[in-house]
């Protein structure tokens, strides 16, 4: 009967809103245009046979249907506003509402990127103040806000390194990347024409120094290091690592995705990093929006400044800001205009809301939360690395696999407890990884509930594994068939599909 009930309930759109194309019918309108105050035109006359026949299957719905469609679909998402979202490395922290308000102020939101600089001083000031703050936070000398996301920042940073080395006379061939690195690191190195050489980690989850010594030579442009790395471990040998690289003329790139573990406590520029990116959508609270937009500013040391993408913001003695384009050594543009300005506004608002004291406390709370979870779940789940944790902790499913339960199953079951899962199976150096990053935004109450849930799932894995394997049980949809999705990809709706849809 339970099922029977559910079947009926699920007939309501709120549980089963169709595709917008299935709600479309000719003549419904969700718009109205203003009266045209210039002479009407006929597109056939103006465009000839370049005029378009029709718009095919584009939908036709009314405004209330738009509102309901996107409201109903939204209720199928989990979000930070619902609760803990401990995706490791993704830093799903609170997105402050004031950020959303200031970024929508008319003078900022409606500013055209090519409007005269004289009437863009407000926007340029926002970018300048943010730039200065980020430089200070990273302990670097210069910055570009142009990159649109972290990976884009990596690309920019490695381009800077290559341009610098080329100027030294030899761009070199390889980039060293630890096996714990995020996939964007090797992918980036390849885009800049470098071969990727894997660097082993040691038992502590840090760089194996002997390996680095052995692999570092004049063919190596540098090392891409995430610090703290994806195990949540701060590499204490960082000074030595930088030395080794610099001694052989290489450069140290830091993937700053985990900068939220350091802000206000440690500055990469102080421990030998030459260039790094930041993820404003992680450390600086800009919303991730279901997959972006991001923003990946790149900060660097003086030696790399000449190569920054154009334009660069400069200030005249009398405090006027302007965009400098004439920079002969620049690597060029990585994006049109000035980057994701709307995210710059939000990140600055976040920094202002925190101040130096708030930023430090935020970092401390993030690290405290991760260590609290580690303490409470150690033993319940296998902890492959006993090295101190910073902002996140990585467990493995070793203890559960004996009952045939994998990290992915635990994750799905966690959904039934009302939590978003942690990051599954990453980093790759931990087999069956559970990568948990609570961020500073979780209260003790929420953490305790999460811990209780994780313990309960571990217990279920012992006592009733099938309930875990079958999870989630409480969602609108059960586990989705990703295999057949990839085998026979359906990447768009087509009219005939209409019948297929219930």
């Amino acid at each position: 009967m339970a099922n029977h009930k559910f079947r009926k309930v699920s007939t309501h759109p709120n549980q089963n809103e169709g595709l917008i194309f299935e709600k479309s019918s000719a003549g419904k309108k969700g718009y109205r245009l203003s009266e045209l105050d210039v002479p009407e035109v006929n597109e056939r006359e103006l465009l000839g046979d370049l005029a378009r026949e029709d718009l095919g299957n584009m939908p036709e719905v009314s405004e209330i249907e738009v509102v309901r469609h996107f409201t109903r679909m939204s209720t199928w998402n989990y979000a930070v506003d619902y609760g803990m979202y401990p995706l490791g490395s993704c830093t799903m922290k609170y997105n402050p509402r004031i950020n959303e308000v200031v970024s929508r102020l008319d003078g900022l939101a409606s500013a055209h990127p090519y409007q005269p600089e004289a009437i863009s001083q407000g926007a340029l000031r926002v970018m300048k103040v943010l730039s200065d703050a980020l430089i200070e936070i990273c302990g670097m000398d210069a910055i570009t806000l142009q990159p649109a996301a972290g990976a884009h920042g990596e690309l920019t940073g490695i381009l800077l390194m290559r341009a610098y080395l080329e100027k030294q006379g030899n761009p070199r061939k390889k980039i060293l990347i630890p096996d714990s690195a995020h996939g964007t690191n090797p992918a980036t190195a390849a885009m800049v024409g470098y071969d990727v050489e894997n660097l082993k980690s040691n038992a502590a989850g840090m760089v194996e120094l002997s390996a680095l010594e052995a692999q570092m030579n004049e063919d190596v442009a540098g090392l891409m290091l995430t610090n703290p790395n994806t195990l949540g471990v701060f590499d204490e040998q960082i000074g030595k690592i930088a030395e080794l690289l610099h001694a052989k003329g290489g450069l140290l790139y830091m993937d700053g995705a985990n900068m939220n573990a350091l802000v206000g406590k440690v500055r990469p520029g102080d421990f030998g990093v030459d260039v790094m990116h930041l993820n404003l959508h992680k450390t600086f609270s800009t919303p991730h929006g279901g997959g972006g937009p991001g923003s990946g500013p790149v900060a660097c040391k003086k030696i790399l400044e000449p190569f920054l993408p154009v334009p660069v913001i400069q200030e005249t003695k009398d405090g006027k800001l302007y965009l400098q384009y004439d920079r002969p050594e620049s690597v060029g543009r990585v994006r049109m205009f000035f980057g994701n300005f709307g995210m710059h506004v939000r990140a600055l608002a976040y920094i202002m809301a925190n101040g130096p004291d708030g930023l430090r406390q935020t970092t401390e709370d993030a690290v405290l939360n991760a260590n609290y979870i580690r303490k409470k779940l150690e033993g319940v789940y296998d902890l492959p690395y006993s090295t101190p944790s910073m902002h996140e902790v990585v467990f493995s499913d070793r203890l559960q696999t004996k009952n045939g339960i994998k990290t992915g199953d635990i994750a799905k079951r966690l959904i039934d407890y009302g939590f978003h899962p942690y990051t599954v199976s990453f980093p790759l150096i931990v087999h069956g990884a559970l990568m948990i990053e609570p961020t500073e935004s979780e209260s003790k109450e929420e953490l305790d509930q999460f811990i209780e849930a994780m313990k309960s799932v571990a217990e279920e894995a012992e006592k009733e594994p099938e309930i875990v394997l079958g999870a989630p049980h409480t969602t609108r949809l059960s586990r989705l068939d990703e295999v057949s999705a990839a085998r026979k990809p359906i990447l768009r709706w087509k009219p005939q599909a209409k019948t297929a849809a219930e």
Binding site: L55, W76, V80, T184, G294, R333, K375, S441, P472
Partner: protein, 439 residues
Amino acid sequence: MRYLPKSPADREQMLQEVGVRSMDELFSHIPPEYRLKRDLAVPRQMSENEILDWFRARSGENAAGYGIMLGAGAYNHYRPVVIDSMISRGEWFTAYTPYQAEIAQGTLQSIFEFQTMICELTGMEVANASMYDGSTGAAEAVMMAMRLTGRTTAVLARSVHPEYREVVRTYARYQGLPLTEAGFGDNGRVDMKALEAEVTDETACVLIQSPNFFGTIEDVAAVAELAHSKGALLVVSIAEALSLGIVRPPAEADIVSLEAQSFGIPLSYGGPYAGVLATKEKFVRQIPGRLVGETRDKNGTRGYVLTLSTREQHIRREKATSNICTNQALIALMANIFMTTYGREGLRDLARQNLAKAAYARRQFGTRAKVLFDGAPRFNEFVIQTKDDPKTVEQRLEFRKIIGGFGLKKFYPELGNAAVWCCTEMNSKQQIDAVTEVL
């Protein structure tokens, strides 16, 4: 700090349970010489009220309430208020990439709808979830063409947005041979002769923009034929997405790179915007970025998942189709809501209004200045050559609170005092007439 949900007592208790005496002990394993012993020199902690005032002041220093007749890659269109009303729901803007499909169906289904609409509008068979923007999208499209053809150079039409071309060059710099360019003719379109000369059997693709940087609609079919005849692909970049409401889709292209900013995305001083790549089904495994596909759950109910991820960096690492990870999902959602709100009829009606406004302005301006590139059809942009330097015109317009066209001198010295102007549904006849007087 008001964002932190902990009382001093909570912190005390948690530190105890973790087994440390102080916060600093949590950082004690970091070599002391690297630990910061001072406050960061950043703005002091401010109240929400103070933050709002500060940004209001900055907003006031920017042009607000100006009439904008400037396009050049960023277009001033009306944004239906439902867009912000919807995306402001935490379920949309405080979610991450939909890795866990069962609790991300909202995001996934909306992306599937987005992919579908992009296909409908561009005439392509598949589209991805989004790219950073139109300029990086164009670059990724060129790289994709190189992978598909195994060739390592490309020809860029000079009528492609100059900044797009700069980005393509940056991306392509270490991919192989240097890129070449082909100029434009008197009608503003790519010069077919020049193009023919540039395209060789090492050319992976030809990149054009349509409507191009001068607002001229390219003859896509002709360029496609030329490119294909040399075994090269055609990449068409579209910066003014609204043109698709009334201009024939570039169906002959192999890859279309679209900048969706015109679809309800605020100008926001240049970003965030949203790019998207569309192509033929047979090329799908070389497309960069995320793809959402339809599938079924255990009960056979329709659902959506991220798919074909073996193309992506987190699986393929250095062999991936791109390093892109985070894209522009929320911005693509804005475009999705915009396309849904206007829909089949609305996009066409809106595009027609743009056509009418630009046609009127061109006629009016033409009475005072020289209209360039008049030999081919255009959408909502056109090029005007004035006696005076556009900078001078700019100052005159300042008084009327109007932002005028984009001076071409910087990128096209040969065009002298020419500027590319744009008129959309947002420009009133009154504004247009006012500008006419000033020219």
